[in-house]
Every structure is written in structure tokens, then in C-alpha cells.
């Protein structure tokens, strides 16, 4: 433990950057630094976190402007070298806009911002992000978004399924995946996906808000524990 180096990218409008920093540094004992979006050079790190928030005020489309910030050029290069990227909420939206992950986000089906605790069923554990979890187990993690309605075309969905790249689905506590437990209208209750090489994970729920008992929930911690020693 403690050997992993991480960077949290900070965009104008990020608001979960400090939460991510806190979890990585104080809970997971990683060597973490903030990187301002205007910095083109990324320090040599194992893991990049794209945090939640409302980068560039969500103008145009969520993540659409952040994706062209100087730091993202380095993040794309970092990912291309097989190193790790975790995009949470707005970070997931940025990953979709940048093409590092397939699909796009639509407004929530309800047209409302949803802020609640949801249960996620773990769909795939063969990844450095999820290896400490059990396939089919459920974890409780908060969501807070207005545009988390994951969309992709049929071919992309088939690929995601055939290649077991769906990391999490919204579910009941007992692991039922039905419309009743879909908070935003996402296709097939998708809450998080991997890229082909599984060095990139994008997810709408916020594990960084559920990693310490003092916050009332620590199920998200298993994701960060999976990363230790990666």
C-alpha cells in the first residue's frame, strides 16, 4: 500500500475533486496530486481521476467542453499507454464525450435531477477496478445527476455485453435489475462501463462519497481497494 500515484484533474466547475483527493490520500494512503485543467503536462501517475461536478457549467453538453481542455490531451495519452482512468459522474460524461468510452448521456428520463442512494449490482469483476468485489453482489452508493441516462446504439450495447464491459447496473438491494430500480432511464440499467482494455472505468454513482463509515456508507471503498497495488 501507499505506492500508487494518482492525480485528480480539476476543471472549472468540478465539485467532487476534494472528496476524491480525500479518499485517495487519507483513506487509501495513495500519493495524490491535483492537476488544474490548463496544465498540459500530467505528472507520471498510475491513476487519473476525472471527478464529478459541472465542468464548464455543463454548457453545450455535459463534458463537451472539458474534453478539449489541455489536461485531457495528457489523460488521453495516459489512457492510451494502458494506465488507469476512473471517471465519476461528470468524469464519466467527459470520458463519453472524448470517445474514450462509447455512448452518450441524455437528460434523465424524469427530467429531474436525482440525488439519492442506489444499489448497484456488480456485473464484472475481472478488472483492476472491481477485483475486490464479488460478481452479483450489490453495493449501495449515492448518485447525484441530471444527465445520467446512458444511451448507446444496439451494436454498441451488444459489444458491451459480449465483451463483459458493463461494470455495474442499477438494481434492487437483492440484485434484481428492473425498470423500477432504474433511476434515470439508462439503457439496460447501465451505471458503469469499461473500455476494451479495462484500464478505463466510467460510472455515474459516487464511490468517493461512500468510502468511510463516518459518511454513513463505505461500500464504494472496495473499488478504491481494488486499485491498490494495481
Amino acid at each position: 500500500m501507499g505506492s500508487m500515484k494518482a492525480a485528480v484533474i480539476v476543471f472549472p466547475g468540478s465539485n467532487c475533486d476534494t472528496d476524491c483527493f480525500n479518499v485517495l490520500k487519507d483513506v487509501m494512503r495513495m500519493d495524490v496530486s491535483f492537476v488544474w485543467h490548463k496544465e498540459r503536462a500530467l505528472p507520471k501517475v498510475d491513476l487519473v481521476i476525472l471527478p464529478g461536478g459541472f465542468s464548464y457549467g455543463d454548457y453545450l453538453r455535459t463534458g463537451a467542453v472539458a474534453r478539449f481542455s489541455p489536461a485531457m490531451e495528457s489523460v488521453i495519452k495516459h489512457a492510451g499507454e494502458g494506465r488507469l482512468v476512473l471517471g465519476i459522474c461528470n468524469g464519466f460524461q467527459i470520458l463519453l464525450e472524448s470517445g474514450l468510452l462509447p455512448g452518450a448521456m441524455l437528460r434523465n428520463e424524469s427530467l429531474s435531477f436525482v440525488c439519492e442512494h442506489v444499489w448497484l449490482r456488480v456485473e464484472e469483476t475481472a478488472s483492476v477496478f472491481t477485483r475486490n468485489l464479488k460478481k452479483g453482489e450489490t453495493i449501495c452508493v449515492p448518485i447525484a445527476h441530471g444527465e445520467g441516462n446512458y444511451f448507446c446504439d444496439d451494436d454498441t450495447l451488444k459489444r458491451l455485453k459480449d465483451e463483459s464491459r458493463i461494470a455495474f447496473r442499477y438494481a434492487s438491494k437483492s440484485g434484481q435489475v428492473t425498470r423500477d430500480f432504474n433511476p434515470n432511464g439508462s439503457r439496460e440499467n447501465i451505471a458503469g462501463i469499461f473500455n476494451e482494455k479495462r484500464n478505463i472505468l466510467g460510472m455515474m454513482p459516487h464511490p468517493e462519497r461512500a468510502s468511510e463509515p463516518v459518511l454513513g456508507l463505505d461500500h464504494g471503498r472496495k473499488i478504491f481497494e481494488s486499485l491498490i497495488g494495481a
Binding site: F68, A104, L106, R107, E109, C152, D153
Partner: protein
């Protein structure tokens, strides 16, 4: 100079919950003839380029790179010549 108007809508294959909500509201107001409604967005863009073909090529490049997300959106483009301000 050319002024472009770019109309963006969600693709037909993509559910438009906003459009459905507005359509429902119209129906509630008694506009029963309203049958289909898509909510989109609109860009008005002026480009400093004298040649129409080149202007259109650049505008389409802007659409593909930033203005439109082709995964969920489609657009239509119209252009008209503008007198450059002196």
C-alpha cells in the same frame, strides 16, 4: 462572411423525454392535433470566409468536432451570405 443556422435535434432512434413532456403539456392545453414534438437547440454562427464551399466545409467540421454529438444528435444546416461590417 457567411451566417450559418444549425438546427440540432436528438436522433429519431433516441428517446426525447423533454419533447414528450412538452407534447403532453400541449395535449393537456387542448391542442389535440399536436402529434409529435422534438426539442432541439439552435446555433447561429457567423464565419469569416468568402468562399461558400470552404465555409460550409469548416462549419461541418465545427459541428462534428464540438457542436454536435453524433452518437445522439443530428443537425441541419442553412447558410446565407452576410455583408462584412466595415
Amino acid at each position: 462572411m457567411y451566417k450559418a443556422t444549425i438546427n440540432v435535434t436528438l436522433k429519431k432512434s433516441v428517446l426525447d423525454p423533454q419533447g414528450q413532456t412538452v407534447l403532453h403539456a400541449l395535449s393537456t392545453l387542448g391542442f389535440k392535433e399536436a402529434k409529435d414534438l422534438r426539442v432541439g437547440k439552435f446555433f447561429e454562427l457567423t464565419v469569416d470566409e468568402a468562399d461558400k464551399t470552404r465555409a460550409e466545409a469548416r462549419i461541418r467540421e465545427m459541428c462534428d468536432k464540438l457542436l454536435i454529438n453524433p452518437v445522439i444528435e443530428e443537425y441541419s444546416l442553412t447558410m446565407r451570405e452576410e455583408k462584412a461590417a466595415r
